[in-house]
């Protein structure tokens, strides 16, 4: 049963296997990488060579180029060579622990020696962020500014109008259900006829009592209807009163906002930069949502629910992982201990250093730390970015940056009559950002130095360009808080007043006119509304009175007439009894 040459066969097999792995692994990994990258990006991917080093165990990739599918003459990403040194024992256990990863000559958008093939034409890339786009602000005209001020009055006025119409309709319907004067008179006649008639005997009395009871029932049901109309009247009165109060409050708030916008109040114009840049910054910040979405599958469920504050969210479907969720996993599934990336950027070099890259930070008890240091580029004096990122009970990201002397390319803000050219300028910025799950807190200051603006637009913009050119610095303070998908952005500048005076020169007139118009409209709307309301109130009071009258007469009819008929019946019975007893003599 034992094969004598068994060990020899096994050793030969094992040696052949090792030789095969050593010779074929590199080309096989290269083919696999090219295939999967091309599938992912939809464009040609070139890798010169992939080789496997046995001692220490490492993978080396030479000259990787990924064609930009949108611009096939250029690469979207390329690097000269990369080397990943793998730790042997974790690798034997099936964990990818990379001791050191180095990437040299990383470039974005480098030109290719020959055009790359495109397998899938890309759609519009809405996620791309570039600084030119960030500054590409459309200066709004006066109407747009008013629209952006988000006035509440028109909506409230419309709501009041609709409410009045609805209530009116309801009252009309109910009014038809009220008993008419004729029908009340008819009831009265019927009761009178009954009570005035003579009671012949006990059977007659019983029949009349029954007829009276029927009349009483009918009157009771009419009374219930009257009560319902009364309640509806009270409800309508209250609703209309509330709507009028809301309209008055909204108009007051809008008036204050317009005053602020038009620099009419003492506080000056606070929010012009907010109105100009708020939405743009908010959209950019919301792009960090992508980071949150990437980390979301790794955040423990408890952390997620507390972050979102929603208990009804459906549980996430957990996809099978390569490794089972062991209670005390010795290593993360994937862990790069140190990484150094040499990035060729804007005619210079930058070094990105990263430590502890993984998605299972709890296992290594440390956050992923990164720093980017750039100095003396042709278009940038210095840029330093540092931060950390960890997925524990929550995903926490901290980011600090300091950017000095970024040379701005000429750009145009706005278009047509409101176009403002920025011929030159230097941007400096510093700030910090904290992202905890999907909640963001960010503080930044941006300073535009030595700006050179031109405008051929209207006189207000020319005035603005002159004013801006006189400024040594144009500072902006930007703060963002709240949900990452809908952040609240606050942008303030000490130049807001100057900017507002100039930029809103034209707008101010429109704003003033609008304000006057708004005030007049509001007054008339309020007065019409209130007048209508007064009419309504009078109508309601009148109806209320009528209803009360009807209700009162029903009550009187019910009690008085019934008593009459009973007394009469009593008397008659008494007389009859006396007759039968012989006239009482």
């Amino acid at each position: 049963m034992i094969r004598k040459s068994g060990w020899l066969v096994f050793i030969v097999f094992f040696a052949a296997l090792l030789a095969l792995v050593y010779l074929v692994a590199g080309p096989a990994i290269r083919l696999g990488m090219v295939y999967s990258l091309e599938k992912a990006v939809g464009a040609e991917v070139n890798i010169s060579k992939v080789s496997l080093e046995l001692a220490p165990l490492a993978l080396r990739i030479n000259n990787l180029q990924i064609t930009d599918a949108a611009k096939p003459t250029h690469n979207s990403l390329s690097f000269g060579h990369a080397r990943a040194a793998l730790e042997v024992w974790p690798a034997l256990l099936g964990y990818y622990v990379i001791d050191e990863l180095t990437v040299d000559g990383l470039q974005y958008g480098a030109e290719r020696s020959r055009e790359g093939k495109v397998y899938r034409v890309p759609g519009v890339d809405s996620e791309k962020v570039d600084i030119a786009q960030l500054l590409q602000v459309d200066l709004p005209d006066a109407d747009e500014l008013i629209a952006r001020a988000n006035l509440q009055t028109p909506a409230k006025a419309e709501a009041l109008k609709q409410l009045a119409a609805t209530e009116q309709q309801q009252l009309k319907t109910l009014q038809t259900q009220l008993p008419s004067k004729d029908s009340l008179a008819q009831y009265q006649t019927d009761i009178k006829a009954l009570t005035d008639s003579k009671v012949a005997n006990a059977a007659d009395l019983a029949a009349k009592a029954q007829q009276l009871q029927q009349l009483k029932d009918k009157l009771n049901s009419e009374k219930a209807k009257v009560e319902q109309v009364k309640q509806q009247l009270t409800h309508s009165k209250n609703s209309l009163q509330r709507a009028v109060e809301e309209l008055q409050a909204a108009s007051k708030a809008d008036y204050a906002k317009m005053q602020q916008l038009a620099n009419l109040s003492d506080g000056g114009l606070a929010g012009i930069s907010q109105i100009l840049l708020g939405d743009v910054w908010g959209e950019r910040v919301a792009q960090l949502q992508t980071l949150y979405e990437l980390a979301k599958p790794y955040i423990p469920e408890g952390g997620l629910s507390s972050g979102q504050g929603s208990a009804t969210a459906e549980p996430e479907v957990v996809l099978p992982n390569r490794i089972l969720p062991l209670p005390g996993q010795p290593y993360p599934d994937f862990w790069v201990k140190t990484a150094r990336v040499n990035w060729l950027i804007g005619g210079g070099e930058a070094t990105i250093a990263l430590q502890d890259i993984t998605a299972q930070h709890a296992l290594i008890n440390s956050a992923t730390r990164f720093s980017l240091d750039v100095k003396q580029l042709p278009q940038l004096a210095a840029f330093n970015l540092s931060g950390d990122f960890a997925v524990l009970q929550q995903m926490v990201t901290n980011l600090n940056w300091q950017l000095d002397g970024l040379n701005l390319q000429p750009l145009t803000l706005g278009k047509g009559d409101t176009a403002l050219d920025l011929a030159a300028g230097l941007i400096s910025s510093s700030g910090k950002l904290n992202l905890t799950d999907n909640q963001i807190t960010q503080q930044a200051s941006v300073v535009l130095n030595a700006a050179n603006f031109n405008s051929t637009g209207n006189k207000y913009l020319q005035q603005l360009a002159n004013l801006l050119n006189q400024q040594q610095q144009i500072p902006l303070n930007i703060a963002t808080t709240g949900l990452i998908s809908a952040p609240e952005v606050s942008i303030r500048s000490s130049l807001d007043k100057i900017l507002g005076d100039a930029l809103l020169g034209e707008a101010k007139q429109k704003v003033a006119a609008y304000q006057a118009e708004l005030q007049a409209k509001l007054n008339s709307q309020l007065q019409t509304g209130l007048a209508g309301q007064q009419d309504w109130a009078a109508l309601l009071t009148q109806q209320d009175g009528e209803v009360a009258d009807i209700s009162g007469s029903i009550e009187t009819m019910l009690s008085a007439k019934m008593a009459d008929v009973k007394d009469q019946a009593k008397d008659k019975l008494k007389d009859k009894l006396l007759d039968k007893l012989g006239g009482g003599n």
């Binding site: 049963m1 034992i2 094969r3 068994g6 060990w7 066969v9 096994f10 097999f13 094992f14 034997l92 256990l93 099936g94 099978p320 992982n321 390569r322 490794i323 089972l324 969720p325 062991l326 209670p327 005390g328 996993q329 010795p330």
Partner: protein, 163 residues
């Protein structure tokens, strides 16, 4: 394809014992189901040390590897679903040897359990089938034109020579 058919026929018609062929098929299936790793090497070592038919083992291993391209994902999903057992996960976490055998990997664990379950029945069934073939079918197969042609082919002659 012809080579595989020739190999199978040659083994079936040879003097190799039905148990040797049966175990070769069962272990070939086991090695094929498992992702390549230390467990596969252990199976190869067993096959080398015992007088298990090597040709059959290699052919079945190769065929099963091909089949696993289709069945690996469903097997992985199934294992993930059923392996969420606290004591099993604790055992895997505390035993480094099991981790060295990659039994904490979803697919490897599933494949190991499936292979272990199939091992004995497949070995026995294969042995029975080989015996049935030899007693009932072998003589008629020898007379088939296809078999004659295969035997007459140069490839077969070369194969015979090499063996």
């Amino acid at each position: 394809m012809l080579t595989i058919l020739a190999k199978i026929l040659k083994v079936l018609n040879s003097q190799a014992s039905p148990w040797q062929i049966g175990w070769a098929i069962a272990l070939g299936l086991f090695a094929g189901i498992l992702p390549f790793g230390l467990l596969t090497l252990l199976i190869v070592l067993i096959v080398c040390l015992l007088t298990i038919n090597l040709s059959t083992f290699i052919v079945v291993w190769g065929l099963t590897e091909g089949l696993m391209l289709l069945f690996a994902t469903p097997l992985e999903n199934l294992t993930w679903q059923y392996a969420q057992n606290e004591s099993l996960l604790k055992l895997l976490a505390n035993t480094e040897t099991l981790q060295l055998l990659h039994l904490h990997h979803t697919l490897t664990l599933g494949a190991f359990v499936l292979g272990a379950i199939l091992l004995l029945p497949v070995a026995w069934l294969s042995k029975v089938l080989v015996m049935q073939y030899r007693s009932r079918v072998m003589s008629s197969v020898q007379k088939w034109k296809l078999t004659q042609m295969l035997k007459a082919s140069k490839l077969f002659a070369l194969y015979e020579k090499l063996n």
